[in-house]
């Protein structure tokens, strides 16, 4: 371990600025994926093991959209909406049939979706690593804050993801739709008896959850390699986030995502070989001290 380097970093403001900004950006991208996962679990009671694949498809769609239009905005919109549609299809055709089924059945059906999507992606785009690179229009000199470097594209990513998170919080907390979704998470039969079409509500919530994963995949495409199976690692990280934050809690997922993002960015200096392990250590500590997560009420 390079703990002395970590110590040097945290005592130099410039290094702290660079690592914190990187950590927050990584954390916010992770939050988009994890918030969709936790939303789907909280409302539908479904553990969506296919969530990472939605992220992967979002990245591929963005790559294709960017190739076709040269616009990163169009690419991101295509990734988000394309995956929302894909999620809607999966929910209507497959997952809506296993609500309330035991978790092994959910795992089986979701894993089938993972395998199918991995193969579809290989057939369409091939099995090789693809990379998109930061779009030309967003290649600008970095910001320098207190001597620390904040890449321009990272700053853009942070703003976009923060805006999406704010929109999500507003939608869930301040609209009739969001209040109805939260009521349905607690008592779906009563919500249905009041005349709310819960079948449609579930489909919409699932599509929104999938869209969040697709958007995160699209936004990450310029800074990560795009490859079949890319969904697995983000899925595991998202599960760690939802467990730390509390299954079903979006606020908890935000806090946990930022903790994991910062762990990643500082860990890459201080313990580069143990970054993944450290995430599990944090999860284990949280589970020991607060078994239902930072903001959780119901156990997974």
């Amino acid at each position: 371990m390079e703990l002395t380097e970590l110590l040097e970093c945290v005592t130099a403001l410039s290094c702290v600025v660079t690592q914190v900004s990187a950590g927050l950006t990584i954390g916010m991208l992770l939050f988009l994926v994890a918030s969709g996962l936790t939303l789907i679990f909280g409302v539908l009671g479904l553990v969506n093991f296919a969530h990472g694949s939605f992220y992967m498809v979002g990245a591929y769609l963005a790559l294709a959209g960017y190739g076709a239009t040269g616009s990163f905005v169009a690419a991101t919109v295509l990734g988000a909406l394309g995956v929302a549609l894909l999620g809607l299809l999966c929910e209507r055709l497959l997952l809506s049939r296993i609500y309330g089924a035991d978790v092994l059945m959910q795992l089986l059906v979701c894993y089938a979706i993972v395998l199918i999507l991995d193969d579809v992606v290989k057939i369409v785009w091939g099995a090789d690593f693809l990379s998109m690179g930061v779009p030309d229009s967003l290649r600008k000199p970095p910001f320098v804050v207190a001597g620390g470097i904040v890449p321009y594209f990272y700053a853009i990513l942070f703003l976009v993801t923060a805006a999406i998170a704010a929109l999500l919080a507003w939608g869930m907390g301040r609209t009739k739709f969001g209040r109805t979704v939260r009521a349905a998470a607690v008592n779906p039969a009563m919500v249905s008896a009041l005349g709310v079409n819960t079948t449609a509500l579930y489909a919409i919530v699932f599509a929104i959850g999938a869209m969040l994963a697709g958007a995160a995949g699209a936004l990450s495409a310029p800074i990560r390699s795009v490859v079949p199976g890319a969904g697995v690692s983000i899925l595991i990280e998202s599960f760690i986030v939802t467990v730390i934050g509390g299954m079903g809690s979006i606020g908890g997922a935000l806090a946990a995502s930022l903790i994991i993002g910062l762990t990643r960015s500082f860990g890459s200096i201080g313990f580069p070989l143990f970054v993944e392990g450290m995430m599990f250590v944090i999860m284990a500590l949280v589970l020991l001290l607060r078994p239902s997560g930072l903001a959780g009420r119901r156990s997974p």
Binding site: R179, R182, A189, M190, S192, A193, L194, G195, V196
Partner: protein, 236 residues
């Protein structure tokens, strides 16, 4: 002759392997308040749940204003014109009083007469509590909230399951007053109740259920004239 507001024909239902309803038939005309009376476990709540689609009927028919709704999901039955007030109230505890009403607000078969403002006029006790979390209300306040909440859907018929259960006598009187007010406004009501005094104070019609079957039907006046019915089916 127009169809009754709610008509139930030979309704059967079961929880798993144990059957609870063995052919329940009922009809409620517009403006009536029907009290469904019976002992604990006679099938009162199950009847309301089966009508509402919360307990899947095995046989029989449910018609709302002449339209068959048997076996539909609860939200479609609600939209056909039924409002449901469950036995254990089931307010949304982490939503405010106002938000509980908002979730249920929709144009119903009876038009768009009801909204939160009007509910607070009819239920003035709820008005000062509008920003309070429903989980923090007393039992009586929660009961009023669930009644108000089901009004928000502008139903043709309201189904009330044990509205007096577990409430202090003074609150029970208030709920009875509220039900009479609704009846005077022309609302059609079906009430499942164990408390006969409460029923006789608010109902116009009585149906007695025993072992999952309707064993007696008539007006409140006829019911009062037949004490042996009360003795046989209602007293423990």
């Amino acid at each position: 002759m127009t169809a009754p507001e709610l008509e139930v024909e030979r309704l059967e239902a079961a929880y798993g392997a144990s059957q609870v309803l063995f052919g329940v038939s009922l009809a409620v005309e517009r403006g009536e308040t029907l009290a469904l009376m019976g002992r604990n476990g006679a099938g009162k709540s199950s009847t309301l749940k089966a009508i509402m689609g919360l307990l899947r009927p095995r046989a029989g028919r449910v018609m709302v204003r002449g339209r068959e709704v048997t076996g539909l999901p609860p939200y479609r039955i609600a939209r056909a014109g039924l409002g449901f007030v469950p036995e254990d109230r089931q307010v949304f505890p982490e939503h405010t009083v106002e938000e509980n009403l908002e979730i249920a607000e929709r144009a119903g078969v009876a038009g768009r007469e009801w909204n939160a403002r009007r509910a607070f006029e009819v239920l003035p006790l709820l008005a000062p509590l509008r920003k309070r979390l429903a989980g923090r209300l007393s039992g009586g306040e929660q009961q009023m909230l669930t009644i108000a909440r089901s009004l928000m859907g502008n139903p043709a018929v309201m189904l009330l399951d044990e509205p007096s259960e577990g409430l202090a006598p003074l609150i029970v009187q208030q709920i009875a007053g509220l039900i009479r007010t609704l009846r005077e406004m022309g609302t059609t009501i079906v009430l499942a109740e164990q408390n006969s005094r409460f029923c006789l104070a608010v109902a116009t019609q009585v149906a007695v259920i025993d072992k999952g079957e309707i064993v007696w039907r008539g007006s409140v006046a006829q019911f009062r004239a037949e004490p042996e019915i009360q003795a046989r089916y209602l007293q423990v």
